[in-house]
Amino acid sequence: MSQSLKPYLTAVRHSLNASLNLSNFSSQIVERHNYPEIESKKTKEVLLNPITIARNENEKILIEPSINSVRISIKIKQSDEIETILVDKFTGFLTKRAENFLILRRVPVEGYDISFLLTNYHNEVMMKNKLVDFIIEFMEDVDKEISEMKLFLNARARFVAEAYLSVFD
């Protein structure tokens, strides 16, 4: 299973490297305004073709590029109900603090668990290769964290159950 992880991450890295060529683009519709075009979608000409990279049906990434912004949505692997709840809580924790993250989107795109919005301003302040590194690391770490949380959860549940039910023994 982890055999396809490395090709998955390098595929995402190449696609991100190609899509993260962002330049400033003022809105053509409203004077003096500057929108991330992938969010407003009013000017059709500046939207590029979206890219889906899927490792299998449960793990995929959607990259929607445009001239001045890129939206990256990740679907995290959730194999059972406990993991669904854990992923929900984990992503909720991150998205509530999205301001500190700078590149995180407060609401994930429909069908995915978490979304990032990178604009040309982020590109100016932060280095492009570091941004790509961050996204790739995030993808790796999220899976590890969710399995770790699940293990701890099961261990705690077992301990509590033992302590509580030993009275009735």
Binding site: S4, H14, A18, E45, A54
Partner: protein, 150 residues
């Protein structure tokens, strides 16, 4: 009767503002017309000439067709990509021209958006990585702004 007349997007009805994408000058095939081509591709594959079957599939894909026709074509291509062995992939990629590689990357991306393609995610990712290693990120950049979509 529109209930929410305040939220009607007036700009969408403005005749001057309508966005007309450039016309795509590619012939439109029907599913019947593509059937013999798909049969030929499968035939070449079963006879062992994987490179030729891939070349034929890349030759003139149905860019201007209905999504259902495109899906059938993509499933045919998926068969070809699945049946070429991992060890042969590098050899096949060396023999394709850069234009053909662009179309190959387009196939891989379009397949990963389909459920059937996601099932063979490992194979598709293998093709993608080996191609980009050999050729660089050019095909990805060209895919982003390509008007001919599959």
């Amino acid at each position: 009767m529109e209930q929410d007349w305040r939220r009607i997007d007036v700009d969408a009805y403005d005749p001057d503002q309508q966005y007309q994408p450039d016309p795509i000058d590619v012939p439109v095939y029907t599913l019947q017309a593509l059937e013999p081509k798909l049969q030929q591709i499968r035939g070449l594959l079963s006879r062992g000439s994987a490179l030729d079957s891939l070349r034929l599939a890349i030759d003139s894909p149905p860019y201007a067709d209905e999504p259902s026709v495109k899906k059938q074509y993509l499933l045919g291509v998926l068969e070809v990509l699945n049946n070429i062995k991992q060890t042969e992939i590098n050899g096949v990629i060396k023999q394709l021209t850069l234009d053909e590689i662009d179309v190959l990357i387009k196939f891989v991306y379009s397949l990963m958006a389909l459920k059937e393609g996601q099932k063979s995610g490992g194979v598709l990712l293998g093709w993608f990585d080996k191609t980009i290693e050999a050729v660089g990120e050019g095909p990805v950049v060209r895919y982003l702004s390509d008007p001919l979509k599959l």
